[in-house]
């Protein structure tokens, strides 16, 4: 499966830079604003046309590669049924719960260890060892311990998401500006007040980057777990459709997965823009 690959590319993404260099979050909008959506729409239209024509003209075997109209019709039809939304619900539940647990744990541990440099140094090599282990390698273990229970899915999602967020939190906690820190101390802010008013806001841009990466990876793993372990959800539905020879349905589910991913990404980015109104990456829009 391509999970390992996805992990690698995602994990290799550049860490955000607190204040010095704006991240490319909104630069794409500013310069080519009028053309972007249009070009995007044209690109999608082109892809759809190709997908429709290639099977119809016999360029690819229609048996394995049904035209897009058929796939979308199947999807539209399924989307009116309860089992469809149940499966989506299962997948999203595993995703959200796993992401939530990973987020909470990463924030707690990241802040605790960020405040204790010795402990952090002590755990660094362990983290460097555990972090590259692909979550999917834990599938046999998960099945052994939890069977097809949702906890199997959670284990995989939490494991993958945790490291992505945790590393970012560690970067963020370490990035506190000494001048800001000294200002806070000279005005009598205690430890907790400094965490709340200085360390937390400094970490937030990093945390949001971690969350964005983890949200995407979490969805992949939620579906992967269902696909391989067979616990209920979209992944399980894809396996069923494939085994029943319903090729169009397999594609319909894949398209649904893609849409889900896009929606989640839009959601996280909206959250990011809201939470980081003051940050260099978002500021341009906020000030305008």
């Amino acid at each position: 499966m391509s999970t390992t690959h996805t992990r690698d590319t995602v994990a290799a993404g550049p860490p955000p830079d607190g204040t010095r260099r704006p991240r490319p979050l909104n630069s794409a909008f500013s310069r080519t604003a009028p053309n972007r959506p249009l070009l995007g729409a044209l690109g999608i239209a082109g892809l759809l046309a190709l997908w429709e024509l290639a099977p119809r003209l016999g360029a690819v075997p229609e048996r394995y590669f049904p035209p897009v109209s058929e796939v979308l019709a199947t999807l539209a039809e399924r989307a009116t049924t309860a089992p469809f939304w149940e499966a989506v619900g299962h997948t999203l539940y595993g995703w959200a719960l796993g992401l939530g647990i990973a987020l909470a744990a990463a924030i707690l541990l990241g802040f605790a260890l960020g405040a204790a440099p010795r402990l952090r140094a002590f755990t660094t090599s362990t983290v460097d060892f555990l972090r590259p282990i692909p979550s999917v390698a834990l599938i046999p273990l998960a099945v052994l311990v939890y069977g097809t229970d949702i906890r199997s899915t959670l284990l995989l999602v939490v494991y993958a998401c945790f490291w992505l967020i945790y590393i970012q939190v560690l970067y963020g906690v370490a990035d506190v500006d000494p001048v800001a820190e000294q200002t806070a101390r000279s005005y009598g802010l205690g430890r907790l007040a400094r965490i709340r008013y200085v360390v937390w806001p400094t970490t937030l841009p990093y945390l949001m980057t971690g969350l964005r990466l983890a949200a995407a990876v979490g969805l992949i793993l939620s579906i992967t777990a269902q696909l391989i372990i067979g616990s209920p959800g979209i992944g399980d539905q894809i396996t069923n459709a494939q085994q029943g020879g319903a090729v169009a349905l397999v594609y319909a589910w894949i398209v649904a997965t893609g849409i889900l991913g896009v929606v989640i990404n839009i959601g996280v980015r909206a959250l990011e823009r809201r939470v980081l109104r003051w940050h260099t990456s978002v500021r341009g829009e906020a000030a305008a």
Partner: protein, 277 residues
């Protein structure tokens, strides 16, 4: 406080507010130890405005951080109103050189100024009052809801000053606060500092590397030597209390004092280790 209290300092007339005795600071950066400050002893009387000049890198920021309780000195003591400073003391506010990094980008101007007051547990009504007054004092009344990064450098520095005066400190430390603003803004901010000092009766230690600024602002100028740093000279500025950017700077006395400070700095740069007797 009225102007009579700000006649040039005569030793013993006013009680000491800040006392620095034999202060030494050695940075231990691994193998190499840097002695930033060797042996500094001086006093600030209550309500005095003293400027500290010295060549860049001579340890002015180091000294200020030791006074502010942000850094433990290697030797010597700092006393604020007869009590030793071991941690940031309640009655002290610092305006840092790097104002851009000292203001919290994630908070509005109002919240930046109000945060220390919240930590002081002042009631909401009093906080609002102090924030409004201090922003008015620095001429930023309409900018309470702006974010620091929406303001120019000079305005940001004024926010930092507003935050310091809203805190109602006994002692105000300023570390080259105007080094990075343009000449016109700088002149305005200098007058602002003198005005605030006269109005609030606060004790001010103003660090600068600019000789003119030191003489224009101070009641006294302390000249620091090159690193390892000692007090090279202590000059009383006997200029009238009311100062004016144009006339004061053309005053003959001003020119004399400036020449004296300049000569001392030159001596300091040549690395004469002996403080002036």
């Amino acid at each position: 406080m009225n102007h009579q209290n700000h006649q040039p300092n005569h030793q013993g007339e006013r009680p000491a507010m800040l006392k620095v005795t034999g202060l030494q600071k050695i940075y231990n950066g691994g193998a190499t130890a840097v002695e930033a400050v060797r042996d500094l002893t001086f006093e600030l009387a209550e309500g005095e405005l003293v400027c500290l000049v010295g060549p860049s890198g001579c340890g002015k920021t180091t000294l200020l951080k030791c006074i502010a309780g942000l850094m433990a000195p290697t030797g010597g003591t700092v006393e604020l109103a007869d009590r030793p400073v071991l941690a940031p003391p309640p009655g002290m506010a610092v305006v840092f050189q790097e104002y851009g990094r000292s203001l919290f980008a994630w908070m509005s101007v109002r919240d930046n100024v109000e945060l220390p007051l919240k930590e002081k547990k002042l009631p909401k009504a009093r906080r609002t009052e102090l924030v409004t007054e201090s922003l008015e004092a620095v001429g930023l009344t309409g900018f309470a809801d702006s974010y620091p990064w929406q303001l120019s450098g000079g305005m940001q520095q004024r926010v930092a000053i507003a935050r310091a005066i809203a805190y109602e400190p006994q002692v105000l430390l300023m570390d080259e606060p105007f080094a990075a603003v343009d000449a016109q803004t700088r002149a305005d901010l200098e007058d602002l500092v003198r005005e605030i000092w006269q109005r609030l009766g606060v004790t001010v230690l103003f660090v600068t590397h600019d000789i003119d600024e030191a003489v224009y602002l101070g009641e006294r100028v302390l000249v620091l030597s090159n690193s390892p740093t000692v007090v090279q000279d202590d000059i009383t500025v006997d200029l009238p209390v009311e100062r004016d950017q144009l006339t004061t700077r053309q005053d003959e006395r001003f020119t004399d004092l400036r020449a004296r400070v300049y000569a001392q700095i030159q001596r300091a740069k040549r690395g004469t280790d002996q403080p002036v007797a």
